[in-house]
């Protein structure tokens, strides 16, 4: 089974490469001042994490990350960026120390907590011994759809998804109420422009 071990090594190398890329992009975002470049880099960050999720066999999560993180949130951030200035203000060095300490402390705690995590793909992990196996066993008889993720989202956890749809709807409602409906403010700016010109 030497071929299998080789594949394992390749996957490990891909994981290290992708995480390294994520780290580089993250540091670049933190050091950059141009908001346009930051928005673009955050889209790239989402795309790399989506690739990494594929390497972890979480295709559904990868799909969502690519569509939401790299797709729509980049477009929405570009739209939001138009309402503000193009560059971020430079923060004095003295005020950067506290956030740096907070980030280091949080990172240290996360690394400490990750020691207790079950191994990747461990069949005895809590996620695989609780309701997960139950869903996998019962979906063919209960629901009859091949994709168990869809069965869990729409049928077993239908109330959850209804709540999530409500959250998305109320988020849109809140933004609309705060920023205006769009077409009204657009026509107002156009009128103002015409008045000037």
């Amino acid at each position: 089974m030497s071929g299998y071990e080789g594949a394992d090594l390749a996957i490990a190398l891909i994981n290290v490469l992708l995480l390294g890329l994520l780290f580089v992009v993250g540091v670049a975002i933190a050091r950059m001042r141009s908001l346009f470049a930051i928005v673009m880099l955050s889209g790239i960050y989402s795309l790399i994490s989506a690739t990494w999720f594929v390497a972890l066999d979480a295709v559904d999560v990868a799909f969502t990350e690519a569509a939401v993180g790299a797709g729509i949130s980049t477009a929405l951030l570009l739209g939001a960026m138009l309402l503000t200035s193009r560059t971020a203000k430079v923060v004095p060095r003295a005020r950067q120390i506290v956030p740096l300490l907070v980030v280091i402390a949080t990172g240290a705690m996360l690394i400490y907590a990750s020691i207790d995590l079950p191994a990747f793909g461990d069949p005895d992990s809590p996620a695989n011994t609780y309701v997960g196996t139950d869903y996998i066993e019962r979906t063919p008889q209960d629901i009859g759809v091949p994709n168990i993720v869809t069965a869990v989202l729409a049928s077993y956890r239908g109330f959850d998804t209804l709540g999530e749809t409500g959250v998305v709807f109320s988020a849109a409602l809140a933004v609309i109420l705060l920023l205006g409906f769009g077409e009204r403010s657009l026509s107002a700016t156009m009128r103002k422009k015409k008045g000037e010109g």
Binding site: A67, V68, L76, G144, V145, A154, F159, T165
Partner: protein, 153 residues
């Protein structure tokens, strides 16, 4: 709209034009193939909204608002949520619990039509709600400025 004489985004426009219908078609594929492959209403709704947003980014916000009016985006968002909640009420009327798809078609035990169509309609509701919401949010942001000037990039 950008002046045609100063229009140096012609390559962008030509490339984006055939891509937009393909993106919309892919959203429908993700939606209706969600039972078999990764995907579902949420992702499909986002992809559908991205198709319209791409059109707005490239051809300007005003033509996009003419093609998909903001009032329609808002309606879609609310309609999707009502559609999802409505399937639950439908199940209640058929004598089951809220969102219990098994009772939808009065089929014998072991039948899967109720589950299949229930999931499909519910995911369609998610698609409408997400696409409408994302588009409404985009319009709310982008509708506040008239045109992106070239020197702004």
């Amino acid at each position: 709209m950008a002046n045609s004489r100063t229009d140096h985004h012609v390559v962008l426009r030509v490339v984006a034009k055939p891509l937009i219908p393909i993106i919309a078609l892919f959203a429908l594929y993700v939606q209706f193939h969600g039972d078999y492959s990764p995907g579902g209403g949420f992702q499909a709704g986002v992809i559908l909204a991205v198709a319209v947003i791409l059109y707005a980014l490239i051809f300007g916000i005003a033509p996009a608002m003419r093609a998909v009016p903001p009032v329609f985006a808002r309606f879609l968002s609310a309609f999707g949520f009502i559609l999802y909640a409505g399937v639950g009420v439908w199940a209640l009327i058929m004598g089951g619990n809220y969102l219990d798809y098994n009772v939808l078609f009065n089929e014998p035990p072991g039948g899967h039509h109720g589950q299949h169509y229930g999931i499909l309609i519910v995911e369609l509701g998610v698609l409408f709600a997400v696409a409408g919401s994302m588009l409404s949010i985009f319009y709310a942001f982008a509708g506040r400025v008239t045109e992106i000037k070239d020197e702004d990039w």
